[in-house]
Assembly symmetry: C2
Homo-oligomer: 357 residues x 2
Amino acid sequence: MSGVNTGESSAVSAIQKSKSGTKTFCISVIGATGAVGREVVQLLEKRNFPISQLRLFSSERSAGEKFKFCGQTLEARIVDREALTGSDYAILCVDAAMSRALAPMLAELKIVTVDNSSAFRTDPAIPLVVPEINGELLKGKPLLVANPNCTTIVSLMIAAPLHRVAHLERMTACSYQAVSGAGLAGMHELESQARAWAAGEKVTGQLFPRPILFNVFPHNSPRQSDGSNEEEHKLVCESRRILGHEKLRVSATCVRVPTLRAHAVALHLEFINALSPTQALDILTRAPGVRVVNEANGDQPADPQMVSGLDEVLVSRIRVDHGGSPGKSLALWAVGDQLLKGAALNAVQIVELLIAD
Amino acid sequence: MSGVNTGESSAVSAIQKSKSGTKTFCISVIGATGAVGREVVQLLEKRNFPISQLRLFSSERSAGEKFKFCGQTLEARIVDREALTGSDYAILCVDAAMSRALAPMLAELKIVTVDNSSAFRTDPAIPLVVPEINGELLKGKPLLVANPNCTTIVSLMIAAPLHRVAHLERMTACSYQAVSGAGLAGMHELESQARAWAAGEKVTGQLFPRPILFNVFPHNSPRQSDGSNEEEHKLVCESRRILGHEKLRVSATCVRVPTLRAHAVALHLEFINALSPTQALDILTRAPGVRVVNEANGDQPADPQMVSGLDEVLVSRIRVDHGGSPGKSLALWAVGDQLLKGAALNAVQIVELLIAD
């Protein structure tokens, strides 16, 4: 018996009918009730993913939560071997510890898995993929694919197309990261702090180590021995892996800001070859998954509210960085919905590429 | 008749009495009812500035507003030549256009003026001063002194002591700027948006071009021909002037965030000479006007709420910047109350240095 509710058979046939002639797949979403998992479920429907069966799994605490999917009601269940058996693909939207715990079972069951956590991102045997950048790694039909860190994806969606042309030497990235990077609980915390403040009550934090309403602070991931935080460390290591550029110099400061969703990144890029803002504008206008919001046309530079719910990473303020090497340095402002392209969408795109190949 | 109310004579004698034996001065604060002006008035009292008479001026709209000062009630008046006559010092807390309009009259009246606006900051004849950095420029007894941009002051309070030792070659500064950089109206806008959101109402902006609650966006100062905004342009030009380092390479991205007061800046610094985090920690621990908040001691890195109302600029996260030249590159996190050290306090300190010399 799969993880769907009693309406399963009719749901499956309805979906299969609409997809007659195309091959369909059994997909398991593990961690379906979290901020990223919910987006995955919505994307699978919105993008008409060829599904024969959708199985939703959650922690014990959230089990029983209902989902609407293609007109049917599905229910999240606790994950176990039996319930997973027969899945073609699994999308893991759980923390790194849980991903590590589940990976061996998924491998045994030959379920091709895309993992959203950081568990396998630095493992050289596991491809770390942004389809628009290094999607060719999926041709090897890996059994496990790692989905990169959200800030890394937003930054590289802009840096990579420019790197291809002018060869990136150094990237300085300072981030403005939404609370939903810490999941739905992060959004609830900011919202409840705003309500408490408006009611004249004391603003207190539970998830974050201090109030996030009307505040910003360095990313609250664990501090590394070199003084960087884990988020910055991920940005450095993952950028190098994804670009296949082990010598890339990366400077990073990752900061939490009181936005609900979508991360912004101030990028200062230096290239080996000359690259003008006009050339960069042209490259990014043609880059898949990127949308240029050009102030020269009278548009406001992108912001997190503008990009929330959008698939594309928005880029604005493409300008010369006068502090960098003359003719070879640009500053840009990238904003992307980290729950979509920064997580769920990228994972779904990986599965789409895997089934297409 | 000066700009103080009918209680003036008693106020003056009370203040003079407490300062018997020290020379006292007549101070005019122009733009006293604004965010910075209010802080100036409070600082003059808090710091026991030797005042014989305090005259407060405002726009027509705010005239009549009452201030408590050293136990007396003073009233803001419309500025005019007669009301200014006899002032020893004036602190201008108005916009650049108004500063330009008033400066000739103040000069004619031989009133030594500190201007908080950007009107004179790039004029090579007018010293641009942060007392801890280039206070020696005040020895020339200038009649007009420019007070630097707030983000510039916060950044340089940290960069300058390190520059003195290791010679700064390049500074990359990405800012997280509070709404009070746009004055009291900025704070009111963020607060009213939070109240509207909590009440389930539509969040709309008037001062800022878009909602600032739960949002961040590039600084809304005018866009320059090179694509930078005016705030970034100030940071570049003023940093060079204040450090006396015309070749300093500066990369800047200035961003508004929904904090009420205090600006944060992610600094990535490259030096000509070697400089380790330990050396930088030692230098900054001894730097006047700077307080190190050291995570290695278990403290949380500084944040805008922590520094609001403090005179010092706080610095945290002193670490190697692996993206920069090896041994010569540091990343740091600077946070300062931009209404205090970033504006009012710096202006008052300038006047204090002028009367001390």
